[in-house]
């Protein structure tokens, strides 16, 4: 269990850190022509706190003799496929590929997804409560993980809302969008389980991990602020589009 938790966290840590590096490459490439991107910077900040969190957690689990929690492993395993798919799509795009796949209509397995997600949340909450009733002690050391659940769920909500709004016009679903919509809430759940295990005494909150998590909080808030400002139009980022070619002169008829 411990090795499984450590390895899965290593995979996610490497994926998110690589993704952060990839976004820096994008940011640098576009800086000259499009200017600085707050969205890109915020996303880099998130990737560089999420990635190190998983790397540090994996390393700590492996070296400090901390026994891995089963619910932690479940949370990582649920989120990992979506995270890896998104990452591979971005690698494909970076190398000149499409960077997305399209799912026509709504296949049965996708219809089942909300129900499975609901069942998973119920199971996760029940498992968490079961763990906590056996004896827990919450301290302020665990709160950044709770805050991250809120922020990541909010980002996941924005993503899911966009997928649902786009579906009627597109006639289907974007794999890239769906994978992102899955990544964020599961990431939040991972952080909550980290807190739960810390509260029950299974995990020890070490200063390095705590520092990374406290850096993740402003990074996530910065990201949500940027997204909200872009929605409101108070911030213009790489979502600006040049004017269309000069419109044809209109003659009085």
């Amino acid at each position: 269990m411990t090795i499984a938790v450590a390895l899965t966290n290593f995979v996610l840590g490497v994926v998110y850190t690589c993704y952060g590096l990839m976004t820096i490459v994008d940011l640098k490439r576009g800086w000259r022509t499009r200017g600085f991107s707050h969205f890109g910077a915020a996303w880099v900040a998130m990737a560089f706190t999420c990635g190190p969190h998983h790397l540090e957690h994996g390393l700590h689990t492996l070296t400090a003799g901390v026994p891995g929690g089963p619910m932690d492993l479940v949370a990582v395993l649920v989120g990992m496929p979506a995270g890896v798919i998104w990452f591979l799509l971005r690698v494909e795009a970076l190398t000149g590929g499409r960077g997305d796949r399209f799912i026509s209509d709504t296949p049965r397995w996708l219809v089942a997804m909300p129900y499975l997600a609901g069942a998973y949340v119920v199971f996760a909450v029940a498992a968490g409560v079961t763990l906590l009733v056996d004896g827990s002690h919450f301290t302020p050391r665990m709160t950044p993980n709770v805050l991250l659940l809120g922020m990541y769920s909010l980002v996941g909500y924005y993503l899911l809302r966009t997928q649902i709004e786009n579906r009627p016009e597109a006639g289907g679903w974007s794999v890239s969008g769906l994978s992102l919509a899955v990544v964020f809430p599961t990431c939040g759940l991972m952080h909550v389980y980290y807190s739960v295990y810390a509260a029950t005494g299974r995990y020890d909150v070490d200063p390095v991990g705590l520092t990374i998590d406290w850096l993740a909080v402003p990074a996530a808030i910065y990201f949500v602020w940027v997204v909200r400002a872009l929605y409101l139009g108070t911030l213009i980022d790489w979502n600006e589009r040049p004017r269309a070619a000069a419109e044809t002169a209109v003659v009085t008829v």
Partner: protein, 575 residues
């Protein structure tokens, strides 16, 4: 009062909202930074329990999220959550911390936390209207007074602490409110004047240069780069004399002992508008109307404000009008001479036979028609110049129209005019204007092909345009002549006036009419090989289909743009 940008780009003053939205945002960022720092510090403290743990849970799980909500809300100008919610939340958190930590026996904590209330008051005055700021001030006195009630009587703050604190709050409110009001008023007036001055300077057509007494440039407006032709070069610090190189008459203006435009030897108008010139970017003389005046700067130094107007086009227009008068007189004189001669003959000789008499009358009629055509063109040119040209355009069968004009010219002149037109779609155009344009271009092509070479008329089309081409194999033009041929009163060579006739306004009329119909006119030509005039006329518009949502991310490969797309960030056009 604050500056507000209206939708159409104008700047106005919003007198209804006194609050500075930037200050609200700065306060929100500051609050969030303090909250996160306090929360993070608390989580690193060892052995936190009891009331202390409760305080940090409040900071972590209430204040931090609330500060984030206030920051998000601050993006909407005037949002009450951002303006009022922030300070109220701060007061509650500080009040709870004061009561709980004092109970946890942190020494002198209830007195030490009083400055935190003052910070909230300071931010409130900057971010709230006066009544709300006063309310926060009152709360900043009431909350610590109530919070210390949670403590045993012996541990409570005495009047010796609370009274000076309350006075400090009131004084702070009054002082900052007054300072803020004065600053706001001054800033508004400064912004108004500054914005006005900037707008005027940015949009004025004349180049404005401000130099110091030594002639070094301190300030310039965008028109300087346009007139002088130095778009990418920084101007500040450069020598005005070197940049402009002004000449008066044949003498270069000497600015070594002060601005040359201010010297008295330039006549009575010196400094008020002197005709000067410089060598332009095309190495030709660029005539300018320049003036200069001395002003005193803030520090008491003397500065010189130069105003320079490019009068090249004015001069060219003057020359062109002079040439036009000569040309038009010549054009009018020729048929008038013929008319006068034949009329004189008819009056003087009663015994002319019928054949000669008929020939004379026909000649008079032909010349009168020619005269009428010249006058019509002059009148049309005047209407175009006065902006009184209004064309009503409709869907028009262009193929039959051009075919009939080609046939008419071929029959009238006996020259070869070849039309290659097949299945042309309709265009949006004005029939009379289009006939004038086509007639003039075919007439021109025939006129400037003195060797009798054939004239070709062809057309192609795409989804939006029909492109008509009228080509000859005559004398043609070089690139310089082709670049200017659509200008008013222009002819390739002055000798052309005598050789080919014409007033030099035909192509100007052609271009004006085509542009008024929503099209374009252009030319490609080679000296000795002939000219090809191209008209692009718009086809009727069909409604555009609704923009399709791209189903996969093949628009842009960047992960930033892809994430934006997936999270639903709306695309916005560049303003």
């Amino acid at each position: 009062m604050r500056w507000a940008h209206t939708g159409d780009g104008r700047v106005g003053i919003d007198r209804g909202i006194r609050v500075d939205s930037t200050a609200v945002r700065v306060a929100a960022v500051f609050r969030l930074a303090v909250a996160i720092t306090a929360a993070a510090v608390g989580s690193f403290l060892p052995h936190v329990s009891g009331e202390r743990a409760v305080v940090f849970f409040i900071v972590d799980l209430v204040w931090v999220p609330w500060a984030a909500v206030v920051l998000f809300a601050s993006e909407q100008p005037g949002a009450r959550v951002a303006r009022l919610g922030g300070p109220i939340g701060d007061l509650l958190v500080i009040g709870l911390s004061q009561g709980l930590l004092a109970q946890a026996a942190v020494p002198n904590f209830d007195a030490a936390i009083l400055p935190a209330y003052l910070v909230v008051v300071v931010f409130s005055v900057y971010t709230l209207e006066r009544p709300a700021a006063v309310g926060i001030g009152v709360a900043a006195i009431a909350v610590p007074t109530v919070a210390q009630r949670l403590l045993p009587v012996t541990d409570r703050l005495g009047a010796a602490v609370l009274a000076p604190y309350a006075v400090a709050v009131v004084l702070l409110l009054l002082l900052i409110e007054r300072t803020t009001r004065m600053q706001t008023r001054a800033a508004s007036q400064y912004a108004l004047l500054s914005s006005k001055a900037d707008t005027i300077l940015a949009h004025v057509a004349d180049a404005i240069l401000v130099t110091n007494a030594e002639g070094r440039i301190l300030q310039s407006n965008p028109a300087v780069a346009r007139i002088v032709g130095c778009a990418d070069e920084p101007l500040v610090g450069r020598s005005c004399e070197e940049l402009l190189g002004l000449h008066s008459g044949e003498r270069r203006l000497d600015c070594s002992a002060g601005c040359g435009l201010l010297r008295s030897d330039l006549g009575d108008d010196a400094g008020l508008g002197v005709e000067v010139w410089r060598i332009g970017s095309n190495t030709e003389r660029q005539p300018l109307l320049a003036s200069a005046s001395r002003v005193e700067s803030d520090g008491g130094d003397v500065e010189v404000v130069h105003s320079i107007r490019d009068i090249t086009r004015l001069k060219e227009a003057e020359e062109a009008k002079t040439l036009f008068l000569a040309t038009a007189s010549h054009e009018l004189k020729t048929p008038l001479t013929v008319i006068h001669g034949f009329a004189d003959t008819l009056v003087r000789y009663d015994d002319l036979d019928e054949e000669v008499r008929s020939a004379a009358l026909n000649a008079i009629r032909a010349r009168a028609t020619e005269l009428s055509r010249i006058v019509d063109r002059l009148l049309l040119s005047s209407r175009i110049e006065a902006g009184r040209l209004q064309l009503t355009c409709q869907e028009l069968e262009i193929e039959s129209l051009i075919t009939s004009r080609v046939a008419s010219f071929a029959a009238a002149t006996g020259r070869e005019v070849v039309a290659s037109l097949e299945d042309l779609p309709t265009v949006v155009s004005n029939e009379d204007a289009l006939i004038t344009v086509v007639d003039h271009l075919i007439d021109n092509a025939l006129k400037y092909s003195p060797g009798g070479e054939p004239v070709e008329v062809g057309a192609v089309c795409d989804a939006e345009w029909v492109q008509v081409e009228i080509a000859d194999h005559g004398i043609g033009m070089d690139s310089e002549q082709a670049a200017h041929c659509f200008e008013k009163f222009w002819q390739a060579e002055s000798s052309d006036v005598r050789r080919f006739g014409g007033t030099g306004i035909g192509l100007y009329i052609v271009q004006s009419l085509v542009e008024a119909m929503g099209g374009t006119a252009s030319v490609s030509s080679e000296r000795g090989a002939g000219s090809r005039f191209t008209l692009r006329l718009p086809r009727p518009r069909v409604p555009e289909p609704a923009e399709e949502l791209t189903p996969t991310g093949d628009g842009e490969a960047t992960s930033i743009r892809e994430f934006m797309r997936q999270i639903g960030v709306p695309e916005r056009r560049v303003r």
